[in-house]
């Protein structure tokens, strides 16, 4: 993989926020095309268009209520759970419209993992938490399962802390550990995309740091889309940043540029702390 700076330098499309015409070696993993989300009469996301490149960390920032979580949850159709929610426009995952009525949602969610705001491990053992996904999707013997669990926990940088107590209840872990367990749980189903919905908002600074380091380690292996209200975090972990305001996408581009020379006034106001 090319160094980040070179990629950005190669890609004027990314800089402009319109990366439709792109270089052939770069793959758009998720393409959002004139996409809107409604909760009954209320339009939460308004005609948003942007492309999320594969293998990089993309942050979505903006003041609360700007629709950033909604669009994240639209990618793996978690919004289906909300009564009265419907969408307009296209959201393409590997070029396939996610909202095609014939889409196998189970398959989609398997390939698009999600980590939530509050750590939400199941009230089961640590092992069973990580094994939950693999058990769903394939028939594995105990040895294979243990292998997957170990690999996922290692990838989530949790293995060393829990390897001696895999049978303990997951709720006995600390908040930060729980969140890393949730990440391990997602990694265990081997997704292509990792959606993270403010994954550190319920954690203390030390735990936050570990998660951020983990994101840096996972970068490149997965396409990571992270929603955060913490601009420093976006600046630290992401390669690209989308700034949303009142349901609309204001600006999308390489993080460095968004944070150093934003083209829009609202972006500038937001990242300099004038509102939000």
């Amino acid at each position: 993989m090319k160094p980040l700076d070179m990629v950005i330098a190669d890609r004027p499309d990314v800089r402009s926020g319109n990366n439709a015409g792109r270089t052939p070696d770069e793959r758009t993993h998720v393409a959002v095309k004139v996409f809107s989300v409604f909760y009954r009469a209320n339009q939460a996301v308004k005609d948003v268009t942007f492309n999320i490149p594969a293998g990089y960390v993309t942050a979505i920032i903006g003041p609360s209520g700007c629709g950033k979580s909604t669009i994240l949850r639209a990618i793996n159709r978690m919004n289906d759970l909300v009564p009265g929610c419907y969408v307009k426009g296209e959201l393409l995952f590997d070029g396939q419209n996610v909202y095609n009525p014939d889409v196998d949602v189970v398959m989609l969610r398997r390939r698009v993992g999600m980590v939530f705001q509050k750590p939400n491990p199941f009230p089961k053992s640590i092992f069973d938490n990580v094994a939950y996904g693999p058990r769903l999707h394939s028939r594995l013997n105990q040895g294979e399962l243990a292998e997957i669990v170990e690999r996922s926990l290692v990838d989530a940088a949790l293995w060393d802390e829990v390897k001696d107590r895999l049978d303990d209840n997951a709720l006995s872990l600390s908040g930060g550990q729980q969140q890393r367990l949730c990440i391990a749980r997602v990694l265990a189903v081997d997704p292509e995309i990792l959606l993270m919905d403010e994954p550190t908002s319920a954690l203390d600074p030390r735990a936050t740091l570990r998660i951020e380091n983990l994101i840096a380690e996972l970068r490149g292996r997965y396409t990571i889309i992270i929603v955060t209200h913490n601009m420093q975090q976006a600046a630290r972990v992401s390669d690209f940043t989308a700034f949303m305001y009142e349901g609309a996408l204001i600006e999308f581009g390489p993080t460095k540029e968004i944070f150093t020379k934003p083209t829009h006034k609202q972006t500038n106001d937001y990242i300099t702390g004038r509102f939000g």
Binding site: R27, D94, Q96, D102
Partner: protein, 387 residues
Amino acid sequence: MQTSVEIAGGKVQSPSLLLSNRARLRQRIAAVLGNGFLLAVTSFSMLAVLFIFIFIARDALPFFQHNGLREFFTSTHWYPSAGEPEFGALAMFFGSAIVTFGAILVAVPLGIAAAVCLSDVIPFALRQFVKPIIEMLAAIPSVAYGFFALVVFAPLLQQQGGHLLAVAVWIIGLPSAVLVIIVLSDVAGDRLSDRFQSWARWGIIIILGSGALFGLMVIGKSLSALRIASGTNAFNVSIILGIMALPTIVSVSEDALQSVGRELREGSYALGATRAETIVKIVLPAARSGILAAVILGVMRAIGETMVVWMASGNASQIPQPWYNMLDPVRTLTATIAGDMGEADQVTGSSRYHVLFAMAFCLLVFSFVCNLVSERFIRRSRQKAGG
């Protein structure tokens, strides 16, 4: 299942997200079948209600066809096994009504006071101890209540009933008299000029106080001399049914009180109202529909109760003389059903058998209506709390 996807000039292999036709069909069928199965099982309750209505009505109808409505609802002549049987159930309707009324008289003031106390007065830690008490009261089987009413309470009432009543009157009467007098003296005192105020106040307290004391003594004495012919009577049953209805009333009205928001209370406190004033003037009116629902549910509990009234109401199918005399034995619908079914001929289905279904049908319709009304009230109180 790989499809090649065209992406801006390049071709990338990506597994399709779409379901194959067969898989889609399978999933649809599974969803429809599964949903249908779940809905069918859930509808079982609906079916049960429907069947209860149908089967009770089916066996009640022959009675009404054969004997008409008039005698059943207006006559007190209940001679089901006479050569020329008479099926006047008015006394039973009356018995059910008076017993329920008595129970409500006991349970509603106590229940609402307790609910207010639970939600607004006592601290949370203490509440954790009171709740199990209410739950235990609710859990005790009705036959145990009936046994208590028959074996412990009835003899006590028969031997010491007068004294018990007198003590109860004192316990309730004295504090309420004191309160009334204090309020009256205060109100009256406010209208006079300062010079007479304290004189007037003390005068009122002394005059009214001695009057109230005298009244209480007279009532207490006459009650003490009261002789209760039988301990198994409407009074006994009312008390016990009241205790049984208490848990329902307490928990439902406590829910209603809790759902009245803090803001409303705080607004009232901020204006300098005392807790009592806040609750009486603000919280209780706001929780009105929930409390009404609680009362209706209490009525349903009391009127539908069988064992206690069967064991301890005396089972005399008569309207007491005078009608408000709670110390006479009465007979309720439920007790009649329970008691007479054993003698009624079930197989051939005589009028004697069908009349009991007619009574059950009346109970059923009554509880159905009560339920609809209380549901409405509860929904309304929830809506109010929600927005």
